[in-house]
């Protein structure tokens, strides 16, 4: 969830940590993930965040050396409404991995049964009309008869 329940520093660090986690997973295992340890870890407290825009700089070590990204978050009513990530990677690999994050977050997902979720609606492709369904059924019947 991107809804916030922690303080802003922790959230910004979460974003950086997520980023670094992505980068680390793309890098060679030998680099480890210790570079992602935030050096300004703040105690997690509950409470509301002030609306506004926050920027943090994340540093990590890749096989190419020290790397840096700036993450800017906009908060409104405890929800992240905007994220901007600026990468400073110099090597082709760093540029590629940072670019992939800037373009969006990639993940493998697993389906959960909709029946077991508490949702109001389901969004997928449009259900088809009776006419379309009849046509598909007719074609299948023709194909079986051939």
């Amino acid at each position: 969830m991107l809804s916030l329940s922690d303080n802003k520093t922790a959230t910004v660090l979460f974003a950086v940590a997520t980023l670094v986690g992505t980068l680390s997973a793309c890098s060679t295992p030998a680099t480890g993930t210790d570079a992602s340890t935030p050096d300004t870890a703040a105690p997690v407290t509950s409470g509301d965040y002030a609306d506004g825009t926050y920027t943090e700089t994340g540093n990590y070590t890749s096989p190419n050396g020290a790397e840096q990204v700036d993450v800017t978050l906009t908060l409104a009513s405890n929800v992240i409404t905007d994220v901007a990530v600026v990468g400073f990677g110099e090597s082709p690999n760093s540029k590629q991995f940072q670019g992939e994050f800037i373009g969006g977050i990639a993940a493998e997902v697993v389906g959960k049964n909709i029946d077991e979720l508490s949702v109001d609606k389901v969004a997928g492709s449009s259900l088809t009309s009776g006419g379309f369904n009849k046509a598909v059924a007719a074609i299948k019947a023709d194909a079986l008869a051939e």
């Binding site: 977050i105 049964n113 997928g124 492709s125």
Partner: protein
């Protein structure tokens, strides 16, 4: 969650409208009239529509006042997708069998989809076609009609509502609407849940309108169905833009679309991998082996 519900079929798909109070007979009639007006203008599935008239005879045609937002969005997305998303795919869809009678029988003919400037001029209220052109506004039309139906309801004093035109959803009210993202390969499952309020969310996938190894989402540059992406979702202020962006996500990189549009998105590749915008208000069900985080 709002209730009661009004359910009906329109423009080839089931609809459901949820409101706090039952709709008046006047509102009911106004919705039906609005949908019929839209269909008479834009449907390529009826012989008496303006779009069908234009297909028979090139020329200059005046469109109703609802046309500018639709054509302007199409023009922006045509540019943003470098010509892949085009309203000129109507003829190609017919050749593939997605025609008025749902023949679903691909013909041998493959006519090149004309480029916008070859076939169309839009001056803000009149469309001029330079060649016989069968328009298909299926990539954004249903979302737009969701906005237009919501506008009719607003005129009848109904502000809190959910209009769900089967994959194109607009929700206004005091509470969030939680929407599951349907898995395109197993429609009993979801890959995530997002919350929307005072905004629209539109989904697109080729899994249902599919026949003979083909489907209805065409790349106008090739005239062929796309195959790299198997589902998209777009969230933004209007269902018109959300619907159009959901289709554009099949053809364009989200980061390129984001320079032109303010929206959130999710898309799923044929490999099963999912990409989503960092500012998504929701949760994706990230697997154990996932490298991206949902934050939960």
């Amino acid at each position: 969650m709002l209730s009661p519900s009004k359910q009906f079929e329109a423009i080839g798909a089931p609809w459901q409208i949820d409101t706090a109070q039952p709709l008046s007979a006047e509102a009911d009639a106004a919705i039906a009239a609005r949908i019929d007006d839209f269909d008479r203008t834009y449907s390529r599935f009826r012989h008496d529509s303006l779009v069908s008239t234009i297909a028979r005879t090139p020329g200059t045609y005046r469109f109703p006042p609802d046309a500018p937002p639709l054509f302007e969005l199409y023009r922006r997305l045509y540019t943003a997708t470098q010509g892949a998303m085009s309203p000129l795919v109507g003829h190609a869809l017919e050749e593939l069998g997605y025609d008025r009678t749902y023949s679903l029988q691909p013909s041998a003919a493959r006519t090149r989809v004309p480029q916008w400037h070859e076939a169309l001029s839009w001056n803000g209220n009149e469309l001029t076609t330079h060649t016989p052109a069968l328009l298909d506004v299926g990539a954004a039309g249903k979302g737009y009609l969701v906005d237009l139906v919501a506008e009719v309801l607003r005129e009848h004093g109904v502000d809190a509502l959910t209009v769900d035109a089967s994959g194109d959803i607009l929700h206004r009210g005091d509470a969030d609407l939680r929407v599951a993202l349907e898995h395109p390969r197993d429609t009993s499952k979801a890959i995530g849940v997002v919350s929307i309020r005072d905004q629209a969310m539109c989904a697109s996938a080729p899994n249902r309108r599919a026949w003979a190894g083909l489907h209805h989402i065409l790349d106008a540059r090739t005239g062929r169905p796309t195959d790299r992406i198997i589902a998209t979702w777009a969230l933004t202020a209007t269902a018109l833009e959300a619907d159009g962006l959901a289709t554009a996500l099949f053809f364009a990189e989200p980061s390129d679309l984001a320079t032109e549009f303010d929206f959130q998105w999710v898309r799923m590749f044929s490999t099963g991998r999912v990409e989503y915008s960092p500012d998504l208000n929701g949760e994706l069900f990230v697997g154990e082996s996932g490298t991206g985080g949902s934050g939960t």
